[in-house]
């Protein structure tokens, strides 16, 4: 494959950047948050829960910051003239960029997961292998979606400043996604959304899991067996614990048993994540293949 040297170079670019290893440290520090709630929720599998906590927020920020310059950076410096002059189709350039960045950031996140696992085993003992493997694969899917998105931003904008602004915009929107969805839902239906006692609405709950991070949490909560929700695993546990009253959107809390619509099945989060990989990739390809690159 003629694009594999490009992928290797992109991977090295990530691995030799300082930000990458800071991300590893942050994921470990941010993820390792032992709580009684977490322990009560999933016992020794809390180590796997740390991966979910560490990945939440930090992986989207880190992965987008490590990809948003991948193409616009080369356009700005003019090094893209060497890249385009190579015997590669434009689609192969995008592929090399995406695969290389994915591998580089994947290695970094892999090290973070390894460190969390070692700390977890030392602190809490061994954990179940299957959910662990599932959560690692889900994390890889989330990363692929974020890299796909980062490369799209880098392809579609015309300056590094716009690319950085788009990254901030994305983080901001996903951070306040449940508020955005609630407001829009209320505006359309006239039904107020109280997160302490959310309406049993399929579309509302479906919209809440449409972000890559939301879909990831739904998937990992399912693998951890805490419940069907885009919230973090300990929040889901608390929401469903008897006598607890917190503001969180959890399917089992809003719907009577067996009444939730089929499209809220947690496994469909895989489809959502795959869509987040495929659609930005297709858009990048369309933008990059058509028109001038300078």
């Amino acid at each position: 494959m003629q694009w594999s040297p490009l992928a290797r170079r992109e991977c090295r670019t990530v691995l030799t950047s300082k930000g990458a290893w800071i991300l590893t440290a942050l994921i470990v520090l941010w993820g390792f948050r032992p709580t009684y709630t977490g322990w009560n929720a999933i016992g020794q599998n809390i180590t796997i829960g740390y991966i979910q906590l560490g990945v939440n927020l930090l992986l989207p920020i880190g992965a987008l910051l490590l990809t948003y310059q991948s193409l616009i950076g080369e356009r700005t410096t003019g090094s893209i003239k060497f890249l385009i002059a190579l015997p590669l189709k434009r689609t192969q350039i995008l592929l090399g960029k995406s695969v290389g960045r994915f591998a580089g950031i994947g290695a970094i996140v892999g090290v973070a997961v390894l460190l969390i696992s070692i700390i977890g085993v030392v602190e809490h003992g061994t954990f179940a292998v299957l959910p662990f493997v599932g959560v690692v694969l889900a994390t890889a899917l989330l990363l692929a979606a974020l890299v796909s998105l980062g490369v799209l931003l880098s392809t579609a904008v015309d300056s590094t400043v716009s690319a950085a602004a788009s990254v901030l915009g994305y983080i901001f929107v996903t951070l306040f996604w449940s508020t955005v969805v609630s407001k829009v839902y209320t505006a359309i239906t006239g039904v107020p959304v109280d997160p302490y006692d959310a309406p049993a609405s399929g579309p509302l709950f479906f919209a809440l899991r449409l972000t890559p991070d939301g879909a990831y949490n739904v998937l990992t909560n399912w693998l951890l067996g805490v419940g069907n929700s885009a919230e973090q695993f300990h929040t889901v546990y608390t929401k469903l614990a008897p006598g607890q009253f917190i503001n969180a959107f959890v399917v089992e809390a809003a719907f009577e048993s067996g009444t939730a619509p089929w499209y809220l099945h947690p496994a469909l989060s895989i489809v959502i994540l795959l869509t987040w990989i495929a659609v930005p990739m297709a858009l990048s390809r369309r933008v990059f293949n058509n028109g001038d690159v300078l």
Binding site: L88, K89, G291
Partner: protein, 251 residues
Amino acid sequence: MSEDVPVIETKRLTKQYGDVRAVDSLDLAIESGDVYGFLGPNGAGKSTTIGLLLDYLRPTGGTIRVFGKDPQRAPVEIHNRTGVLPDRFGLYDGRSARQHVSFVAETKQVDDDPEALLERVGLANAVDDNAGEFSKGMEQRLALAMALVGEPDLLVLDEPFNGLDPHGVRRVREIVHEENNRGATVFFSSHVLGQVELVCDRIGVLHRGRLVAEGTVDELRDAAGADDDAVMEDVFVELTDAPIEAGGESR
């Protein structure tokens, strides 16, 4: 290298940016084995034309064929046989000269020795230095080494003398001759007129996006109505001073 078709052929090639026509109905035919100098004042459309040949830019009209193929549809086949020294390029900061050349060699799937190529362009002492800290002349030499990877059948050199000291200029000239003797076709743009005269078999003069004259140095002197001993600068000024006729839009 023998080709039945021209190595580069454009027909009514046009690139329009809004109201500005950077390249205007350009017809070019560069034959195999030519050393073709593409001359023109700043902003004449030389780099735009090269950008179109290399698929940096897409034409708004006309056709391009390189080795008989469309650059947009067959970039792999064309670029496997082409070496490029672009104008106003950037290098990868934090990577050595060796890594730059190796990257091109790996992608072209050839086993050229990066050190030998870097020595050839006069960078033997900077093989493992960070290219991000190179002077303009060194950058230019490194880009030339990258262009030479894989013994390309076509060398496209956009302002190759930029930033070079007299030793560097001479080296580029020697390399162009060596490559041409090996069988490569060389297409280069420049506004360094003396060098063009020394290096090229044929010259095309571009002015406001249009080819206003083409031929050997002597033929250009005739076209400009200049004396046999007129220097290239006089010929150039004469050819690019005249207004464009035939209703072409110009920049």
